[in-house]
Symmetry: C2
Subunit: 192 residues, 2 copies
Amino acid sequence: MTRDFQHEILPLIATRWSPRAFAPTPVAKGDLLALFEAARYAPSCYNEQPWRFILATTPEELSTMHSILFASNLLWAKSAPVLLLLLAKKSFTQGGKDNYWHMFDTGTAWGYLSLEAERRGLITHGMGGFSKKKAQESYSLPDDLAPVAVVAIGHRGSSEDLPEDLREREQPGQRQPLESLFYLPPSVLTAN
Amino acid sequence: MTRDFQHEILPLIATRWSPRAFAPTPVAKGDLLALFEAARYAPSCYNEQPWRFILATTPEELSTMHSILFASNLLWAKSAPVLLLLLAKKSFTQGGKDNYWHMFDTGTAWGYLSLEAERRGLITHGMGGFSKKKAQESYSLPDDLAPVAVVAIGHRGSSEDLPEDLREREQPGQRQPLESLFYLPPSVLTAN
């Protein structure tokens, strides 16, 4: 099923989606570091930059990351050459107050990372399906760092290598109509 | 002060920053709608798409939005021709459980929106400095919608029109070194 675009947008955004079939090809170090550079330049509240990363690329690092994934994700994500745990720092570094925007800003950084990956011919797939408790234990995370998502990164593989039920789902996701995203209908949409 | 890039990245990410000086020029409807189209195609947990928007472009809509901003932001944001309140739906539509990723995913959508704006020669400036209580009251927000941030959108104006203390701050923000963003130093950074 093809996506239905109502307005012309940045091609990288239009073509990006979240495949599950990963090729065994490793990710070049320069490409990988550029993803973090892109994330680094995301905007954030008071420029706090609350995003933090745990990166797994070696067999040992990947093995620990596999151990925190839910089985349904491990099934395909075990083939990704790179796994990344996104963390969000809950308090402001200056003053120590709760940062209401720690998840929000980390989401922006992930958005930038995902587009830099698309630009470099890499695929990404973010997962909420992992054990936060296991993540906290495995990595001895301090209370101030919230585990947010695990992202699989790599080159696209063949969907033939996926289990059959996932093979059918290996296509770009659809979206709600633009109009349904406005809580109050804005005049710009309702005006003739 | 120029930004220090450690790796080559998508030019739209590298050149985007958050100015405060807005020109009175209105934003074309087609440009504006494309920003939401870009946000619409962000990835989200279980494809929930928890981002919601309240858009202000008319004098009446802008006046309400001005009334929820903190004075320090109103000072400059009152010149923006477009203000946008970002909201995040706290529960999953299917099943009704809490969506741990509602702020995170809304941040990703905002990231995509910000880059589509940059692509179209528009500036954006996200603000955490607004009253959540006033936002809830002014727009009769249901408990399930968290007010997240107000974004100013428009064309860049002259920094000469800003108050003096803001004039000095009218430049791209700096970032922490890439290395400091890794909670555990990954082998890819530490290996020779």
